[in-house]
């Protein structure tokens, strides 16, 4: 009696995938910790993905003409001083991705039909990247956000919890624990490893009593135990390496006004800059979830989400515009920080691909076509509007493949991609 075909296929895929993962992780750790060695081959690349849940009103975002000579739209005027450092991408979306506000779980995974009962998410693009370009830094990736869930999803489609407090992130990035604390962490990591090691072994005895199907399911458990152990080991090595000094002085103060999401996002952008600048990580995701706070700015009196469903109401549109302008200004500040910081060669912006976007082309109608996207930095030839067909969209995953390749990650295909993004080329 052999197992049926579906099981066999499934597990081969998974196992192959995990083997790849294991291989990437078990690089000689000492090598992996001296980034200089790796830099010889390819320029250092960073990937930063930013999800602004409610997106931007298309009329104010999408430029009317395409190409290099495009006239900036109302919103893009706010980024005009970076004109040659970014590309605006319109007319792309994730095929089959829908489901109103739940759809944003697919922002970096492109998994279709999030609202359906049988939906299961798939791996996000940042995780694919982190497996390869995340090995040389203290953090393989940083999943950031304003709430509990991040934009990052593991290979099994599980959401990775977000770090949502700037203060906590700062401590992880820059604060060396006291000797006692270090000892404690070392102990915990030791514990963790030996537990994983031990539990793995002892579970084997259980495995022998199981049927073939469950043995395969448990395989997932063992693989992950091994991986957890490897990661703990890596954390342990990094524990002995002193943390870098931040470029700016002083710990961040959490924003006291919980409704002021613009200030919170700005603070997180600061942290993204500090994390990149100190080379603590090469892969960052940021998730600004659906919010209904009333931004405490003059002229705004209604919740962000309520405003997004403006249904053409001029007052709501006026207020929403104020909020979206602030979002753009935040992005401009972020790009400014990256451009003003020197990287290994050129500016930090040249090293870092910063993708800002939303699952919604039109949040008012929960329309997931025509995602608004700004792609800055990262060594691409910028300064243009890549305008794809508004009615027959190009898969956004094509952009992700282009970004992966630019980061030196050998990937021909990701999720719904049909190739790379036409017109987006390395500088």
């Amino acid at each position: 009696m052999t197992s049926t075909s579906i099981i066999r296929h499934g597990s081969i895929n998974r196992r192959t995938a995990l083997r790849g993962l294991g291989a990437a992780i078990s690089l000689p750790v000492l090598d992996a910790m001296t980034p200089a060695l790796a830099e010889e081959a390819a320029p250092l690349r960073r990937m930063i993905f930013i999800n602004l849940h409610l997106g931007f009103m298309a009329d104010n975002f999408v430029p009317t003409d395409a190409g290099t000579g495009y006239k900036p739209s109302k919103y893009l005027e706010r980024l005009e001083s970076f004109r040659d450092d970014f590309t605006v991408v319109t007319g792309t979306s994730h095929p089959g991705v829908n489901g109103a506000h739940t759809a944003d779980v697919s922002f970096l995974t492109a998994a279709p039909d999030a609202a359906s009962a049988s939906f299961r998410n798939t791996v996000s693009v940042d995780q694919i990247a982190a497996e390869q370009i995340g090995q040389d830094t203290r953090f393989a990736y940083l999943p950031l956000g304003l709430a509990n869930s991040s934009m990052s999803y593991t290979r099994s489609g599980a959401n990775i919890p977000a770090i949502n407090k700037a203060r906590v992130l700062y401590e992880r990035l820059f604060v060396n624990g006291s000797k006692v604390e270090k000892q404690r962490v070392r102990r915990q990591l030791d514990d963790g490893r030996s537990i994983m090691d031990f539990v793995g072994d002892s579970a084997r005895s259980l495995e022998r009593r199981l049927g073939s199907r469950d043995r395969q399911k448990l395989d997932e458990y063992f693989t992950n135990i091994r991986e957890t152990e490897t990661r703990l080991q890596k954390s342990q090595r990094w524990l002995e390496v002193p943390k870098p000094k931040p470029a700016t002085k002083g710990k961040p103060k959490d924003v006291a006004d919980r409704a002021d999401f613009i200030a919170q996002i700005d603070l997180m952008y600061d942290m993204i800059h500090l994390a990149a600048e100190s080379d603590s990580t090469r892969v960052i995701t940021f998730n600004q979830p659906n919010l209904n706070d009333v931004l405490p700015h003059d002229g705004v009196s209604q919740g962000y989400h309520s405003l997004s469903h403006h249904n053409g109401d001029p007052e709501k549109i006026r207020q929403l515009e104020l909020v979206e302008m602030e979002q753009m200004d935040n992005v401009a500040r972020l790009l400014g920080k990256f451009r003003d910081t020197a990287g290994a060669a050129g500016s930090l912006l040249d090293e870092s691909m910063i993708m800002v976007g939303s699952i919604f082309g039109n949040a008012n109608k929960h329309d997931t076509s025509n995602m608004p996207i700004v792609l800055a930095g990262g060594g691409f030839r910028h300064g243009r509007h890549l305008a794809f067909d508004q009615t027959n969209n190009t898969p956004t995953a094509n952009l992700y493949v282009s970004m992966l390749q630019q980061a030196g990650v050998e990937h021909e295909q990701f999720a719904s991609s049909t190739g790379t993004l036409t017109g987006l080329e390395p500088a």
């Binding site: 052999t2 963790g192 997932e220 109401d313 109608k365 929960h366």
Partner: protein, 907 residues
Amino acid sequence: MTLLTFLLCPLLAAPNESDVVVELQPFLQAQCADCHSDGADEGGFELSSLTGDVDDRTSFARWQRVYDRVHRGEMPPEDADRPPVDEMATFLGELRAELVDADRRRVDEQGRVTARRLNRVEFEQTLSDLFGRPLDVASMLPADAAEEGFQTVGAALNISAVQMRSYLEAIDAAIDQSIFLHDRPEPRTYRLSLLNSLNYMQTYRDQISALPTVDGMTLFATEAMSHHNAVWDHFTVPYEGRYRITISTFLVNSDKPLGLTVRAGGTGHKESLDLPSRTLRHLEVEQREPRQFTFEADLLRGHFLHLYPSELPKRRFPKNGKYEQATFDGPGVNVQWMEIEGPLYDEWPPASHETLLGGVRTESIRGVVNEDPNPHLARRPLIPADPRERQEDWPPGGNPVPLLAGPVNEDAQFVARDYSNRRRKVVDKILAGKHPAVDPLPDYDLPPGTPLPSYGGEPIYRGVQAPKPIQRTRQLAPKDPSKDLDRLIRSLAKRAWRGPAGGAEATKYVRLAQRWLDDGVSFEDALRTGYQAVLTSPRFLYRADSLDQDSDGPRQLDDWQLAERLAMFLWNTAPDEPLRRDAAAGRLGETATLNKHVARMLRDDRSDRFVRDFLGQWLDLYRIDDTAPDLALYPEYDPVLRTAMVVECEAFFRHMIDANRPAAEIVQSDYVTINRRLAELYGLEAGGEEPSVVRLPDDSVRGGLLTTAAVLKVTANGTNTSPVIRGKWVLERLLGQKPDPPPPGIPAVEPDIRGAVTIRDQLEKHRNIGNCASCHKKIDPPGVALESFDPVGRYRTNYRILRDDYSNFDKRQLKPRYREGLPVDPSYQMPDGHEFADIRQLKELLAEDEAGIAHVLVDRLITYAVGAPPTIGDEDAITAIVEQSAADGYGVRSILEAVITSDLFRE
């Protein structure tokens, strides 16, 4: 190997000689090929994508879809020639038989459920019950994926390295929360008053919606307008534990009851933002005479208490110095005082400590003291419950400071200005430490509720910080560490692993911890390592009832597995002692024994977890806060209503179980289970915070889960409603049908609540696009009928739209920002052409299919309990369960019992 059971050549992928082909092929060729073969792939479906291998899951799913669509009469489409009835029946019969066979083979070979771990809810609950205290760790774990809407489905519950590491951290945190190495805190009682809250007093003269009275504080507005730093004398919860809270309160300018929300931690409490916020109660204040409410609550060290009448609107008073609060005649709630007593422990150290460290000798650590976070309260005179009962020598020891302001003055404006000037000086002195921290108390001889415009007597406290974490005042000093280690790890493993005791296996875990001890690691660290290993072992993390122990033939759960499935189903936790006893004795499989346990478990309060968790997932009640209603359009919504909504559904389902009410009441009933707040929304009569069963008038639009405010809220997006979204939801959740996702490129239909276009017109247009009609004629009817309810579940005859001039409204004005828009037309027709006028008639039509509704409920219960959605091969078994309950009118309790004693449950 049972592949290639049938293939359909030459239409399909490969040639084949099976007899089935002969019978199926002509039908497919004649009925389907025009649109679905030779390059034609309407609806994205081509026959050649079907392979004959029904044992392949993808292929099986495709065939199943073919079967479903033909079976439901959707294919061939209406405008095509219909095949003769007998040919259709033969085709369906043959195909179904193949699918059922394949399905049976799959279950036989692979078992019903994919091996699965505990989900977050189960993990936290099981660990809590194991340790013996409510733990707060679920939020440390990644969110669980769901399949078929349930987070109990094995196939979706994967383990990742992120997950694994979170387990280690969560277990560590759980241990931290469970051990108590400090001296038993003495319970203390404080009586607190808002009069003693600095920030209230500093600002009340401006805009704040509160009025100090001789005996307390009258609150006129909801949370957003309350003062977040007004934290009751700056009282900080000193120790984690259970507290008894008494609140004395009465209504002001209102005969209508109002909810008074009591919350600990969370928004606004900057000092305790890192602690989880807990809404403790919505007290139902019903009378103008002071009344005391007493309740108990679990609080955390560092929690601040916060309290506000959350049904009242946002209101701010004009900043004109006129102190209009004193003459305001709108509704409010006066809170005289709050008394808090605790922490209360049944035993010390608490049971969880005994579980983890029982019998380990401890010794005192010298010089460590946990500072009392409330030293300022030790010297403060108590505010009497009723000023008329105050002691003779009030305040004790007399007033050290002369009165700042004169007696209550009619000219509040003058007094207020005078007061604030003089007061400022004193406050500065106090903050500089040049003045005692208590100033004079008010004149208490006035009747309760009397405004206190010239009040100037509150104590001033300097900035209060959240207290540091508890320090240990005792340390572990085991006499014989190895022996303790051995005993404790064995004892935990025995209870943590939900199966027959595995003494030999536990030995290995003891040895692991022992090895650490031998290496010079501290006793506690070694023990923690042992515990973490026990609790990350698959014997704890994995559901035993999802792991097969042998691999031949159809598998029945053994008694231990059955015990686990049952306990997880009804209690979300590991089997308790009686279940374990019967499992060990091999008696649990007997139907009589099983029924006895089911009855016992449903009587137990722990079965509320089943009601909450099952409804949370089935009806999306867990997502009740996913969208926030637009308060300009729906000012009816507030936290009291939100809680009432969820409670209604849970009480309704509970009632259906307890009274064995027919499953059809999911759709339609002649009663509802509501409290006072929901009664107001529904236009019915009911009182109190707790729900009660209320009979409905004959013409009511309510009755049944379908028209509960909670269901209507989770199916709307806060601003508007969509018949498509609601219709699809009803179809999937309550009627058990799965409409296909819309084809790509079709614009979503969103109501235009401003314009002149009704949603019906838009739908008509939409329906005519491509092949939308076949799904929409089923999706739309329930959706259209439910248009009679707005996003917060209120019945409406017209849509509300924002007034054009609302943005010019003064923020302080409370007049509605909306006006009535287009009328709602809830009439429509069923897929079979049957017309209905409104939701009442729709519900009648739907409720006719009693067995069908029962069928869906059984299907959902099986998916939730077993961890795998039933498939086509299970339909007969489900029908049998449904029929078994028919004699009891498809009573929900009978259905539950039939589910649990069924083969589907035991496989």
